[in-house]
């Protein structure tokens, strides 16, 4: 059966199951042994296994099979849900996610053999594996193999699945595989491999592979034989039990893999039918729609430009109707791109739990406003900055228990993560009730790092915050696993600024720290200032522009051979925009000629740019330059203007460097 067309729906469903497994685990930790939760998890693992097997994703189905076994023992009370079991399940879900994503991306997933082994140990099935239908250690065993194995047993041979992982830096992998075959063939016969032998020979595999070996040797003998070869990271030898001729179907039914491969597709269809409030659409189609609406918005602007001078009331009525409808359509289309921030937030409960445990602190994560919506493109990018901030809160913010008690605070620290809308912006907040910013400590560190002079007086909170966001600044006393590598906050700032957002920090020493990220709801349409340089029109995102002003040549001063202007006691470097872009600088007339200057800011740096002319503000639809041109330094994209001409959108942060 060709299943490739179901890959999308498989991916979406599998991710849903993973997420629910994660949530269930968190709940299970609070209510150990809860049958309802365990049943739910068991079902999720079971469904995943069936789906993966149907898709032919062997790694995935083999792994989920082991998870399912452990979950089954847990829910039937044959295994106690102790902490180490829960931890192993957490780890398993993580690895499962990796395997899933690798499988979906088409890269060969690394077999989680270690983890499978531990799960097996838990489930107590470490001994002989029943030889049913389906797969074993990635190997598909068909009727023919089964016959061969049965035949071998009658001759006193044993059958093993040997799973081998090569060291990651192995050179000439295929030759290494050859030495392994050489060694194994000296004691028996390799009757099958996964990937197949020719793939191994052409190095079309990642690091691990499985072999089906018939030999007289004992499992330990095979194990040490392979371990005696260089560049081997791990060997697992599983003995296959002799298949009962009648047990075959039963075994296949138990694995529920080949029994009914269309099961999950059916379920998926049923779900779609009962759930017709929602439609799953490919994001690509959605992007196309939004793009087309963008084009329409441009056309509208052009039409408005053309009819601007019309006196005819009737035409004017038609045009304003068109204007209204397109505007509404634009909003509706933009809304389609909006997704709840829940998609970003959902990974944090797990992360906070893990990091809190690692740092020996007790931390409670409160989440609010997770239904707040934002543009899909932002969702993908805002995750990492939030990870940084939350890590910081756990590592530097929340104090050790003893400190908290001494300060009269609740023993359990709290981190609040939330979002809300404000006008056309979304505010995302990360707050903790920890030690807050220690301005004096920041000052000392900054002096030590040479960021500020020694004699610098005490800093204000804002100044301290600015220092924190500078590259290479870290106040962590020791470098820990969690944070304090000296990267982080400046990276956070860079990402937020690249998304046209801002960061605000509020803090009270020993009380709290609150970081608020403010982002525009969408990046597809922005307000821009249009300027002219060397005859060409350029667009500058409005949030980068601090002000525009007129100066005369006589106001230009020179400091260390650089042009500057003085604006309200602030010395700003002055550049010619055309020159920055590699074109002819504006020729200057006499001293009293008036020059248009815009002041831009990025990463706290300001600069003034002389332009030929200012056109004004306009809403523009950002278009990428296309794959042929790719990324151009200093250019963030292009926009089609009302008059049909193309204007390049300038990237302020590059210009100011």
């Amino acid at each position: 059966m060709d299943t490739s067309e179901f890959k999308e729906i498989f991916a979406a469903e599998a991710r849903d199951y993973l997420q629910s497994l994660n949530q269930d685990l968190l709940r299970l930790e609070q209510a150990p042994g809860n049958r309802l939760i365990l049943d739910d998890m068991f079902r999720a693992a079971h469904s995943l296994k069936g789906m993966a097997a149907t898709m032919g994703f062997q790694e995935l189905s083999a792994f989920t099979h082991e998870m399912e076994s452990v979950l089954d023992l847990l829910r039937t009370g044959q295994l106690a849900g102790e902490q180490h079991v829960v931890d192993l399940l957490f780890k398993s879900v993580d690895v499962l996610e990796e395997v899933l994503e690798a499988t979906l991306a088409g890269t060969a997933p690394t077999s989680p053999s270690q983890l499978i082994k531990r799960l097996k140990e838990l489930a107590g099935t470490q001994g002989a594996t029943a030889l049913g239908g389906g797969e074993l250690g990635g190997l598909k065993i068909d009727d023919y193999d089964r016959e061969t194995i049965r035949e071998a047993y009658t001759q006193g041979l044993k059958a093993y699945v040997v799973h081998i992982t090569l060291r990651h830096n192995t050179l000439l992998k295929s030759v290494r595989v050859f030495t392994i075959f050489q060694a194994l063939e000296s004691v028996g016969t390799v009757i099958k491999s996964d990937p197949p032998a020719h793939d191994l020979e052409d190095e079309r595999f990642d690091l691990d592979f499985s072999l089906l070996l018939l030999t007289q040797e004992r499992a330990e003998g095979v194990q040490s034989l392979v371990e005696g070869i260089s560049e081997i990271d791990g060997v697992e030898v599983m003995e296959l039990a002799l298949p009962e001729p009648t047990g075959q179907q039963e075994a296949a039914a138990a694995l529920n893999i080949e029994a009914n491969p269309v099961d999950f597709l059916k379920t998926a269809q049923i779900q779609q039918r009962t759930n017709d409030k929602y439609v799953r659409i490919e994001t690509e189609r959605l992007d196309k729609l939004v793009n087309l609406v963008g084009e329409l918005v441009i056309s509208r602007t052009q039409v408005l430009e053309v009819v601007k001078d019309l006196k005819d009331a009737e035409h004017k009525g038609v045009v304003s109707q068109l204007d209204r409808v397109t505007t509404e359509l634009q909003h509706a289309a933009m809304n389609l791109r909006m997704v709840p921030i829940r998609h970003v937030f959902h990974r944090f409960p797990r992360m906070v739990r893990d990091l809190a445990r690692a740092s020996g602190k007790e931390i409670n994560l409160e989440i609010f406003g997770e239904e707040t919506e934002l543009d899909r493109s932002l969702v993908n990018q805002i995750g990492d900055p939030l990870v940084h901030l939350i890590r910081n809160s756990i590592d530097h913010g929340i104090e050790e228990r003893s400190v908290r008690i001494a300060r009269g605070k609740p023993e359990v620290g709290t981190i609040r993560l939330g979002a809300r809308h404000e006008g056309s912006h979304i505010l995302i907040e990360v707050a903790d009730d920890g030690g807050g910013l220690n301005v004096e400590k920041i000052r000392a560190k900054a002096v030590e790092r040479g960021l500020i002079p020694k004699e610098a007086e005490s800093l204000t909170l804002d100044e301290a915050v600015n220092l924190l966001f500078q590259p290479g600044f870290s106040t962590a006393g020791t470098v820990t696993d969690i944070s304090g590598r000296g990267v982080g906050l400046d990276a956070v700032k860079a990402v937020v600024e690249s998304l046209s957002g801002t960061i605000e920090v509020e803090s009270e020493p020993e009380k709290f720290l609150r970081v608020i990220i403010k982002l525009p709801l969408t990046l597809a349409i922005i307000k821009a200032l249009l300027v002219v340089a060397d005859g060409e029109t350029y667009a500058i995102p409005i949030q980068a522009v601090r002000e525009n002003l007129q100066i005369t040549k006589s106001q230009i001063k020179t400091v260390q051979q650089h042009n500057v202007i003085v604006l309200r006691n602030e010395v700003l470097p002055l550049y010619d925009l055309a020159e920055c872009l590699g074109f002819t600088p504006l020729s200057m007339g006499d001293d009293e000629e008036s020059l248009s200057v815009i002041v831009m800011e990025a990463r706290g740096q300001k600069g003034a740019f002389i332009v030929e002319d200012l056109i004004g503000q306009q809403e523009i639809v950002i278009k990428s330059l296309g794959d042929l041109i790719g990324e151009v330094k200093g250019v963030a994209g292009a926009a089609v203007l009302g008059n049909g001409r193309v204007a390049l959108i300038l990237d302020n942060s590059t210009l100011l460097r």
Partner: protein, 120 residues
């Protein structure tokens, strides 16, 4: 007792590099050969525990040398040294009886691992 090694390579530099690594790890380099003929002659004379064998060499290449040595001593522990892209020749050397292979540029840990595993 420390194991003895015969190094075979046509460049003095590679011999020196290998010798350095090998001696640092508790092995005794008893001989150095610059081509296959020398390697066979020295092997018969010195009977080292281990041999490292380059493939491409003047007079007699490494693969022929391995075959010669194996003829005289089927228990010889030879590690073939190759560059990337010499895959068919490495396979030939392994078929001829080499126990393991090393790929240039040499990684010290790999050299030691190969020696250790070839003659435990």
């Amino acid at each position: 007792m420390a194991k003895t090694v015969l190094i075979t390579d046509d460049t003095a530099f590679m011999r020196m590099t290998l010798k350095n690594v090998i001696q640092k790890n508790g092995y005794i380099v008893v001989g150095e050969a610059a081509d296959g003929e020398e390697a066979v002659a020295q092997y018969l004379e010195l009977r080292p525990d281990l041999v490292t064998m380059d493939i491409t060499m003047p007079k007699m290449d490494g693969i022929t040398a391995i075959k010669e040595i194996m003829k005289h001593d089927p228990n010889a522990k030879i590690i073939v040294c190759s560059a990337m892209g010499q895959k068919p020749m490495v396979i030939e050397a392994l078929n001829a009886g080499a126990k393991d292979f090393l790929v240039k540029p040499f990684d010290a840990d790999r050299v030691v691992e190969a020696l250790r595993k070839a003659a435990p």
